[in-house]
Point group: D2
């Protein structure tokens, strides 16, 4: 399933070292002003090659709108977005052609499909998120017109929470041929009460699925998350007054439906599995071997995951907003 | 959306104090031996009235198979499962007719629909999970035939981890007119490698959505979950040998696809919001007021959430198993 | 797939001689006044035992609302509708346990599932349409509030078009142990322009799929249908004026989207395959044999198909109406 | 909805005079040998500019595979197919910018979206079918490996059935500034028994929806279609013997499930609405006016609809085949 959403449906395609990556958006409202300039900034935040903290792969990631926009406005038909791959060093990947990288999808893709595009991880590469981010940028523009904004921040990297400590941890890991994990927070403000559907279509369920569906994410919390496990109900319930709520432990969602408060989610991001340090692994013939992963990799994916997480939250919200409008 | 799954599709219906709750299963393989006796045990584990730790509502929860089974075997047609509601004390709910219970879906349902069945929480009641558990029992039977088993356990309640401490915390909270939260773990063994789809259909994304879609769940972890945020890649990667993996930090899923290891998920469960203690709230006319929630409520939902969580994991797995068989 | 629709989703269940038939409606707007009395009349029109022209099976077909309605109004949650089967003569079906009835689904169900509920045709029986008609009645009520009405009529039976001739053909076929086919027309008035989606979600495509999905239907036409194949464009195009259209050859749909004109569809209904006349067939062991189908069957299904066809058109239209409101 | 299928999912995009048309295929089995050379022939049969009977628009329609294929084989990931538009004469369309063409989607798109890409009909153009045909070619390759082949033929044009008469009718209509309709037949051989799902997922329902979803199609028949309306059951039932069936009035489908016989469908194709003859219409300001449609149009769409109809039947069949394999 490479399609996300029921109302604002996004289908992504493309591999790390194939000709292109991109997406098709089906269900975007008509008459929205839209140009590549609306999409490029979020792509630029996701782009590699821009910081010593990230992969050195140099991609300009220029997006082309192939359809669905006429005289600068959406027409209600599918919006196809295309980004060509450029800085492809496939030679870097001869090693992983025959060896499974620990912590990677190499082994499971091979088991599932009996074939895999090993160049740069193929479809399992973080490069797949270009399509999500491009679509998310369009969703964010629609949401902005409805007064909804999405933001994100790094909560911690390798348990450090201040910017200087975070940068130091990342550079130290890089120098050691290693990588580090962290936690990020994504929030949405301006959501009306009433978004989300009972039972299987709960807004928090959709958010959890969307965020856990980003590679490297191993945990998702809504509101106070795991902290609620150690509380009394009398501590955890958000009281109500004439004016609204007295607290927001729930993270803006009650019974799977938005309450009108700020929506708050956090994700646990694992350390990048591609590291230069030698690791124990298996080759495709089943023999034990060792691997030191070359190529250009991020020592910490937390900074670059932020625009992806914003995009995914935006896709969940636009879908819920359109669903809700059906019954207004 | 009251339907779950793409291949083994479950649609649930029913309110806490309506005539009945139940589900329709569409896509169950034909020729599976099935009777009510296969479904009743999991329902019995979910049933209230069975322990001093749980709600005193006394429901026998006898399931009736309305369709899809002929001479003791499934026919491939929809299986409708029905459980009549019996011990309904709607009079208990006159208070919540006019006052929103903090931490509950009362407010958000009212905002969304402009109407709500306030009796026992209506559709937002935990009683809705009867349909899920009934369907989950069928899924578990299909999975068992494929060698896959699902289990669960309480990890902690209000930070206590031993059975005696857990029981003490629950009874103390009950005595105080309060409630407590906790953490549960759900595991699946016997899953073949290759389950789950890349990108939006990742197995961990589906599990996260399914578990976060259970009322009261505020966080989901796969494998080591939030702990990975404080690790180096060299610590977190699961090495491989000829025989398999050297550890299971990943919780049995790599790149969204099962690796063949045990699948491990944990959920954070909030303290039941319905408590006897007085809380600050608002009435349906917008006035500030106070509420002490009467009725029969669980002081801790963690024990009764276990069969529900097993059911949801089973529904995710059977869906992935059937999807995978399409391409074998 | 026993679920129909994307927005107003109907899942049906039940076999001809099982305990019950029914449906679950998910996505019905909240606050609609609804009681069994709104559903019963359409079920009564579908009901057998009411006319010498139809099957003698005597079913009262009383519908029970199991969920989704509170104090006489829909709540936005799933509406489960149940009809118990009563007049079940399973003994009639011992013959078809071992012999495939020509023109029936006996053979294909056996091939597909390796098992079949042969009693009365099981799930392939026309009795399955009880769930569709019950759901259609709810859809018709929602549509009526939006000014949309659906009607149907018999165009011809065995090439006769006047009521007396039609009745005569049916009774003559019955007397001869045979059956006859015919054509029915279904129309909808009051539909706004703009319903239906381009490409795969065309309104006429949805109508064609919905009507062809009724057992016994072998052809579907929109507007002038097959007659257009013999025309010039200058004859077939519907001209426009300031006031509207000068004709309606298109049947109210242009480019898959409603034009605001009356929507017109026609269906070809095959003669009931269950006939008393001796036919050549095969038994389940693969041997050639003969069969004379006993039991109580309709000599012509056209009169009883009308409420089913109205229901299906209503389900298509309510789905399109809700889809459209998303973008208003 | 610009996505077709549940298992082999095709999303198309693009407008007649935009930068490109194409599709994304999600769910194609892995390890299928695939190159542009497998897709090009079916696109060439659909291509304009190749015959005096068709539009003079000159498009080479070269397809580029953007993803999902590695070293000549599919990998199980989405296959994006791109065709750039080249011979675009947008100037031809200044007239239709302000006037609605009778029989066209101009009016309904404007009503639905409040905006339309009027250049060449935008998304409602037959050019949209490039994406369908490209996807259909991939489906046909998968089907061929399973022994299933799809063919089509012209049954009649303007009531003529022989090739010479058909060509004469088309050229005469063209000379008169008019157009003509016709009937086409699409057949599939080699389908195993058991394809298609009961009730709403019937194979004939899926075929009817797929074929009626092609622009210009106004009627669909399965097997003997409308002819069955004038028959007795004893005439219409297909008898069975030890060897198979004695006839194929049903067109290879019983109870919505394939019987193993040849699948036969016919479509009624309306005369192209774009004609040079003067017609009565309305402008976008609501005033009555006249229109003579310029540009390069097909005087009869029946010949060029054949590859599109084959593609759609192939998409239905591959979807059903994959669905069926789930339960093997």
């Amino acid at each position: 399933m490479n399609t996300f959403g029921n109302n604002f449906r996004v289908t992504t395609f493309g591999e790390s070292h194939g000709p292109a990556v991109g997406c098709v958006i089906d269900g975007c409202p008509a008459r929205l002003a839209l140009s590549a300039a609306d999409i490029q900034p979020l792509l630029d935040r996701r782009r590699p090659g821009a910081s010593p903290l990230a992969s050195a792969r140099d991609e300009t990631d220029r997006v082309e709108i192939l359809s669905g926009v006429f005289e600068g406005k959406t027409t209600g038909t599918p919006i196809a977005l295309l980004v060509r791959n450029r800085d492809v060093h496939s030679a870097d990947y001869e090693t992983i052609k025959v060896k499974f990288r620990p912590g990677h999808a190499d082994f499971t893709y091979q088991e599932k499909y009996g074939i895999r595009d090993f160049r740069g991880g193929g479809r399992s590469s973080g490069r797949e998120t270009v399509g999500r981010v491009a679509a998310g940028a369009v969703a964010l523009k629609v949401l902005a017109e409805k007064g909804i904004t999405v933001k994100s921040r790094i909560v911690s990297v390798h348990a450090k929470t201040d910017p200087a400590g975070i940068e130091q941890e990342i550079l130290a890991a890089k120098a050691a041929g290693d990588s580090v994990g962290g936690i990020a927070e994504i929030t949405a403000t301006g959501c009306p009460a009433g978004l989300g559907d009972p039972v299987f279509g709960k807004l928090d369920a959709a958010i959890a699925g969307a965020l856990m569906g980003i590679g490297a994410v191993k945990g998702v919390e809504i509101g106070d998350g795991f902290a609620v496990a150690g509380r009394f109900g009398s501590e955890n319930n958000d009281g109500m007054t004439q004016m609204g709520f007295t607290s927001n432990h729930a993270g803006g969602i009650l019974g799977g439906i938005s309450s009108g408060q700020e929506i708050v989610a956090r994700i646990a991001v694992k350390p990048t599995p591609s590291i230069a340090k030698v690791q124990q692994t298996r080759d495709i013939h089943g023999n034990a071997t060792e691997i030191a992963v070359g190529g250009r990799h991020d020592p910490c994916i937390v900074p670059r995951i932020l625009p992806v997480a914003e995009a995914m939250l935006a896709l969940v919200l636009i879908d819920a907003v359109l669903e809700e409008e059906k019954y207004r």
